[in-house]
C-alpha cells in the first residue's frame, strides 16, 4: 500500500469541551507532549472541537499541513466519532484514517487529581498516535433495502402501521395470529377518555386494511422463521387451515345458520367465553377478513384423532349442511392443510400486543370461585352492543324477583389487579385506572347501579384524562383509596346476605370497610404475551427483566430495536393506551419508510473477514457468531463471513485458533500498538 511508504503526518487535537475536560486535564500540556511523538506533524488544543470552526480547523490543517492521519482527544466516540470522521473526509482524507480518544468520560469526569488526569490523557493520546499509524483506508459498504415490510400482529398498532405504509405506496404483509385483525380494541364498546365508540373508529380501518391493494393480509397465521438482515429478511409464515377458502367465502354466514348444531354450543373466545358459537363461525360480526372458519376440535365432520403430521383426520359422519348452504361458492374445504409461505421483506414491525393478567393468580379476589366476579375484558364484552348479551349487563348468577336474569344494583371495580405489586407485576399497567373509570361510567349508564372504584393511586396523566376523572366524580362514583384485601361471600349483616363483600382498608378514612356489592370487576393489568420469549428470539430482539420488548433507546430510539430493520409498536413494548399505541405505530412506519426511501443502508466497515488461504477450516468460529454471519464453504472447506450480517463484535476474531480472522479497525497491529503505546508512556 502506498500510504505505508508515505511519510506519516499525524494531526492531533485535544478538546477542552468547555470546562468539561479542561477543568481536570491540562490540555495545553497534552498538546505539547504529543507534538514530540514520532509521526506527529501538528498538535493543537481547542475549546470545542465538535463546533463548526473546530471541524473547519481539521479540514484546513489536512489541506495546509498535508496531514494523512488525524487523532482527536475529546468525548465519547459514541457522541462525535461520526462528526470527526465527517470532518476528516471533508478535508480530503479517508474517514478511517482517524482515531478518537475519550478523555472526558474515561478521564476528566472520573478523576479528581488534575496532574494525574493530565498524565492519563497523555498516555491515552500516545496509544492513539501509535495506533492510528496502522489505520487503513476503508470503504463504507452500501446494502440495498428490500422495499416490502412485514407487520406482525393486527391490533390497532399493526393496523395503523400497515395502513400508514400502504398509503405511502409500500407493500405490506400483515400477519395476525387470530382469525380476524382488531386485537384488544375490537372487543371494547367505547374508549376512554372521549367515549367514542370503538367499533366506529376501528372497523372502518379494519376493512380498509382488508381491501387495500398494497396490503397482503394473512390472518390465522404466524411467523415461523426469520433469516437475513436489515434490508433483506426472508420470512416464513405458517398459515393455519381454516377449512374455508378465504377467497371464495363471501361472509354471508348462511353456513352458520345451516350448521347441524341448531344452537351455538361452544365457548366463544372472542367474547371471553361469555357467549357461545358453533363449530363453523366468524369471531365477530365486523371481523376482517369477512370469512368464516371451522373449529376441527368440535366439528362433527372431523374425527377426534390426528394424522401423523398433526392435522385432524377428516371423517364423513356429518350431513354437512353447511356445504349445502354454501352451494355454488364451494368455500368450505375440509381437506385444507396448514401451509408455509415465504416472503422477502426489508424491514419488520413487531406489534404483538399484550395479554391481560390471569385473575386466578390473585385468589383473594375470588375470580373463578364467585361467579359474579368478572375481569374487565369480560365486562367490555358485557357492555358491548354487539356482545353476547347485546349490551345488557346481566349477572352470571342470581335471578331478579320476577325470575329474569339479575342486573346488578351495586358494582365494585378493583384497580391494580396484577399491577404495582411485588407478588405479581411491579409495573403500573397505565390504562387500568382509566378503563376502570370508563367501565364505571358505562356500567352505571347501562344499569343505574351504585359504583365503587377501589384504587391505590389514581393515575390519569393523559390528555383529557384528569378531566374524565372529574367527570366521574361528578357522576357520583364512589372512589375508595386502598388496596382491596379480599372479596368474600361471607355475610356478617343481613344487608350483606347473598352478595359479595369487598373488604378494604380505606386509607383516607383510616378505617377498614366492608362494602357489599352484586358484581365485582377486576381491573387486570397488562402483561407480555405468553409467547413473548419465542417471538423475541424469532426477531432477534431483547427484552427487559419484565419481559416487554426492549427499545433501542427509551428516549432517542423508542421504536427501534437492537436489530437493524426491526421496529416495535404498541403494547408489546410496554403497557400504553390507544393514542400512544397509534403514535408509536406511526413512528415505526416512519422509521421503516426512512430505510425504504433511502434505498440502502451504510455499513460500518468494522467487519471481520477470514483470510482465505490461512483458514484451516477447523470450524471453531462458526457456532460462536451471535449473528450467524459465519458459514462453511463445503467446496473449499473453509469458513467465510457474510459481511452484510457481521456486526463487528469481534467474537470470532478472538476465537480463531490460528488467528485467520481479521477485523477492520481492530487488527492485531492496531490493537497491539495501542496497548504498547499506553504502556510505553511513563
Amino acid at each position: 500500500m502506498s500510504a505505508k511508504k508515505e511519510e506519516l503526518r499525524i494531526g492531533f487535537y485535544v478538546c477542552h469541551c468547555g470546562h468539561n475536560i479542561a477543568a481536570m486535564v491540562d490540555c495545553a500540556v497534552v498538546a505539547r507532549y504529543v507534538e514530540t511523538l514520532p509521526g506527529v506533524a501538528l498538535s493543537r488544543d481547542y475549546k470545542y472541537m465538535c463546533s463548526d470552526p473546530g471541524q473547519e480547523l481539521i479540514q484546513q490543517d489536512i489541506r495546509e499541513h498535508r496531514l494523512n492521519r488525524v487523532v482527536v482527544a475529546s468525548c465519547s466516540p459514541l457522541l462525535h466519532e461520526h462528526t470527526f470522521r465527517g470532518a476528516v473526509e471533508a478535508g480530503g482524507l479517508n474517514p478511517f484514517y482517524f482515531h478518537m480518544v475519550n478523555i472526558r468520560e474515561h478521564d476528566s469526569w472520573v478523576h479528581t487529581d488534575r496532574g494525574e488526569a493530565t498524565e492519563k490523557a497523555k498516555a491515552l493520546a500516545r496509544a492513539a498516535i501509535q495506533r492510528v499509524a496502522h489505520h487503513k483506508a476503508l470503504e463504507i459498504k452500501k446494502v440495498e433495502i428490500h422495499p416490502d415490510v412485514l407487520v406482525v400482529g393486527g391490533g390497532i398498532a399493526g393496523i395503523h402501521a400497515a395502513m400508514t405504509l400502504a398509503n405511502a405506496g409500500k407493500k405490506v404483509y400483515l400477519v395476525e395470529r387470530e382469525p380476524s385483525i382488531g386485537g384488544h380494541m375490537a372487543k371494547f364498546d367505547k374508549t376512554f377518555p372521549t367515549l367514542d365508540c370503538a367499533a366506529c373508529i376501528l372497523t372502518p380501518k379494519m376493512s380498509e386494511v382488508g381491501s387495500h391493494p398494497n396490503i397482503t393480509l394473512w390472518t390465522y397465521s404466524e411467523v415461523t422463521k426469520v433469516d437475513g438482515f436489515v434490508g433483506n429478511y426472508t420470512v416464513q409464515v405458517k398459515r393455519k387451515a381454516r377449512y374455508v377458502n378465504e377467497d371464495l367465502c363471501t361472509g354471508c354466514q348462511d353456513c352458520i345458520s345451516h350448521c347441524v348444531f341448531k344452537e351455538p354450543k361452544f365457548a366463544d373466545d372472542f367474547n371471553e367465553g361469555l357467549g357461545k358459537r358453533k363449530p363453523i363461525f366468524i369471531p365477530f360480526p365486523q371481523a376482517t377478513p369477512q370469512a368464516v372458519l371451522i373449529d376441527p376440535e368440535v366439528c362433527l365432520n372431523f374425527k377426534r384423532n390426528k394424522n401423523p403430521d398433526g392435522s385432524p383426520v377428516v371423517g364423513d359422519k356429518c350431513k354437512k349442511t353447511c356445504v349445502e348452504a354454501c352451494g355454488e361458492k364451494h368455500a368450505i374445504d375440509f381437506t385444507q392443510k396448514d401451509t408455509l409461505q415465504e416472503v422477502k421483506v426489508g424491514s419488520i414491525i413487531v406489534c404483538t400486543g399484550f395479554k391481560t393478567y390471569d385473575a386466578g393468580r390473585s385468589p383473594a379476589y375470588g375470580y373463578g370461585n364467585y361467579k359474579n366476579v368478572y375481569t374487565a375484558l369480560e365486562v367490555e364484552r358485557l357492555v358491548n352492543a354487539s356482545g353476547p348479551t347485546g349490551g345488557e349487563v346481566i349477572l352470571r348468577e342470581g335471578k331478579n324477583a320476577d325470575g329474569s336474569p339479575k342486573t346488578p344494583k351495586s358494582i365494585g371495580i378493583i384497580h391494580c389487579v396484577g399491577s404495582r405489586d411485588k407478588k405479581t407485576n411491579l409495573w403500573c399497567s397505565r390504562v387500568c385506572c382509566m378503563y376502570s373509570m370508563k367501565l364505571a361510567h358505562l356500567l352505571r349508564e347501562h344499569t343505574g347501579a351504585e359504583m365503587y372504584n377501589f384504587y391505590i393511586d389514581m393515575r390519569t396523566p393523559g390528555k383529557g384524562y384528569e378531566e374524565f376523572y372529574n367527570k366521574l366524580l361528578e357522576e357520583g362514583t364512589h372512589f375508595i383509596r386502598g388496596r382491596v384485601g379480599e372479596v368474600t361471600d361471607w355475610a356478617m349483616t343481613p344487608e350483606e346476605e347473598g352478595r359479595l363483600v369487598i373488604r378494604v382498608e380505606d386509607t383516607l378514612a383510616g378505617v377498614v370497610r366492608r362494602i357489599p356489592v352484586d358484581m365485582v370487576v377486576l381491573a387486570t393489568g397488562l402483561e407480555p404475551q405468553a409467547d413473548a420469549g419465542e417471538v423475541r428470539r424469532l426477531f432477534n430482539m431483547s427484552c427487559g427483566g419484565d419481559g416487554w420488548f426492549l427499545e433501542r433507546h427509551p428516549k432517542l430510539a423508542p421504536v427501534s430495536t437492537f436489530t437493524d430493520g426491526v421496529f416495535l409498536a404498541g403494547c408489546c413494548q410496554g403497557p400504553k393506551d390507544i393514542p400512544d399505541t397509534v403514535a408509536q405505530a406511526g413512528a415505526a412506519a416512519a422509521e421503516a419508510l426512512v430505510l425504504i426511501d433511502k434505498g440502502y443502508i451504510e455499513q460500518e466497515p468494522n467487519t471481520a473477514h477470514i483470510l482465505e488461504d490461512e483458514c484451516s477450516g477447523c470450524k471453531s468460529c462458526i457456532p460462536l457468531c451471535p449473528y450467524t454471519a459465519i458459514l462453511f464453504d463445503e467446496g473449499r472447506k473453509k469458513a467465510y463471513i457474510n459481511e452484510a450480517l457481521c456486526k463487528g463484535c469481534g467474537t470470532c476474531v478472538g476465537s480463531c485458533p490460528s488467528a485467520s480472522i481479521v477485523q477492520n479497525l481492530f487488527d492485531d497491529q492496531e490493537i497491539f500498538s495501542e496497548i504498547e503505546g499506553v504502556l510505553a508512556y511513563d
Binding site: S616, S620, K637, S655, P657, S658, A659, F672
Partner: protein, 328 residues
C-alpha cells in the same frame, strides 16, 4: 570452491532433534556431500576452542536445537551466532522453549531442591548440590550455571529461521537444506513450515461438526479414540486448530491428538491462549457449575495448552521469576 560449513549444536533438549538429522537417511549423504560439518557434538568430536578460533561468519548455517537453560548454553549460542551467517532454531525447544520450558512454572530453588533433596528415588544424605566451582583431588572443575528460567534461542540471540517440531520432520529439514543451499530463503524470521493450521492436512477434518459444543473432555488414556473422527468431536483436546501444519498430521494419523509441537501460525502471539479461547468459547454449558464440570476434564491446562510454547508465550514464566540471572 570449498564446501559451505555447517554446524549442529544442542542445548536443553532430549536428543530427538539429532535423531531427525540422522533420520534424513540416504538424504543425509546428499547433505554431507555438499557441506562441511564443522561441529556436531552428538556424532563427532570437536572442541569449543576450535569453533572460537574460526573467523566470524565463517559457518554458513548453524542448526541449534534445545532451549537455553545454562550459562554454557548461553555462551555457545552467542558464540555460534557470531560465527554463523544463518542461525537456525531447530525444533520446538529452540523455537518455543519446548518441554524443558514447562520448568518455568517453578523457581530454580524448587527445581534444585526437588532433584537433589526431595525426589523419592534419590539417595543424597548430605544434600549435596552441584557447585559451579569446587576442588577435588587437586583439580578444580568448572560447571555451567543453572539459570533462573528456560529461554528460547531468540530470547538470547538473534535468530534467522525456525524449523518447528518435536522433533522436526526429515522432510522439513531436507527442504530447509535445499532452500539454504539453493539460496532460496524466505524473509528473515520465517518459520520454515506452512503457515496454516494442522486441520488443513488432517484426514479427520471432514468429521468435525459445525457446532462442536463440548460437554466433557477426555484424555487419550481415558477412552478408545475412534480412528477416523475428529478428536475434538470426540471430546479430546486436539491442538491441531492452533498448530502449524507441515508434520503430515503424523499424530492424528497415528490415532493420537495433536499436542501442538509445531507451534502457532505466524499470526498468533500465544498459542495456548488461542486454543483456550476457541475451546472454552465452544463449551456447551453456560453456567459456572456446568463450565467447571466440563473443564475438570483438563486437569493440567499449562501442560496441555503450553506443552511446547510456555517460554515463548505471553505468560512466559511464573510471574515472580526474574527473566535473567540465577536467583542469587
Amino acid at each position: 570452491m570449498p564446501k559451505p560449513k555447517v554446524a549442529f549444536y544442542w542445548c536443553a533438549s532430549c536428543g530427538g532433534c539429532e535423531e531427525t538429522v540422522v533420520d534424513l537417511a540416504e538424504d543425509i549423504l546428499g547433505v554431507v556431500e555438499k557441506v562441511d560439518i564443522v561441529l556436531w557434538p552428538v556424532a563427532m568430536d570437536f572442541k569449543y576452542k576450535d569453533v572460537a578460533a574460526m573467523p566470524d561468519k565463517s559457518i554458513v548455517a548453524t542448526l541449534l536445537n534445545g532451549a537455553i537453560r545454562t550459562s554454557e548454553q548461553e555462551e555457545l549460542a552467542v558464540l555460534l551466532r557470531r560465527k554463523s551467517q544463518y542461525l537456525i532454531a531447530y525444533g520446538a525447544c529452540a523455537q518455543l522453549g519446548g518441554i524443558p520450558a514447562l520448568a518455568n512454572q517453578f523457581s530454580r530453588e524448587q527445581i534444585l531442591k526437588f532433584n537433589y533433596e526431595d525426589c523419592p528415588a534419590l539417595v543424597n544424605e548430605k544434600k549435596t548440590r552441584p557447585q559451579i566451582h569446587f576442588e577435588e583431588a587437586g583439580r578444580a572443575p568448572h560447571l555451567p550455571e543453572f539459570r533462573n528460567v528456560v529461554r528460547t534461542l531468540d530470547q538470547v540471540v538473534d535468530v534467522d529461521f525456525y524449523i518447528p517440531g518435536c522433533p522436526p520432520t526429515p522432510k522439513l529439514t531436507k527442504a530447509a537444506f535445499d532452500a539454504l543451499l539453493g539460496g532460496k530463503l524466505p524473509p528473515k524470521g520465517s518459520v520454515l513450515a506452512p503457515d496454516i493450521a494442522l486441520c488443513d492436512e488432517c484426514e479427520r477434518k471432514a468429521t468435525k461438526p459445525t457446532n462442536v459444543a463440548f460437554t466433557e473432555f477426555k484424555r487419550p488414556h481415558q477412552a478408545l479414540a475412534d480412528p477416523t473422527k475428529c478428536f475434538l468431536a470426540q471430546g479430546m483436546v486436539c491442538m491441531g486448530p492452533a498448530t502449524r501444519s507441515g508434520c503430515g498430521a503424523a499424530c492424528t494419523s497415528g490415532n493420537m491428538p495433536c499436542t501442538g509441537c509445531f507451534g502457532p501460525t505466524s499470526r498468533v502471539r500465544d498459542q495456548g491462549a488461542k486454543i483456550l479461547s476457541s475451546l472454552c468459547a465452544n463449551v456447551e454449558a453456560k453456567d459456572e457449575e456446568g463450565i467447571r464440570k466440563t473443564l475438570a476434564g483438563i486437569p493440567d491446562p499449562v501442560g496441555t495448552f503450553y506443552r511446547y510454547g510456555l517460554a515463548k508465550s505471553i505468560l512466559r514464566r511464573k510471574v515472580d521469576l526474574a527473566m535473567t540471572g540465577n536467583g542469587h
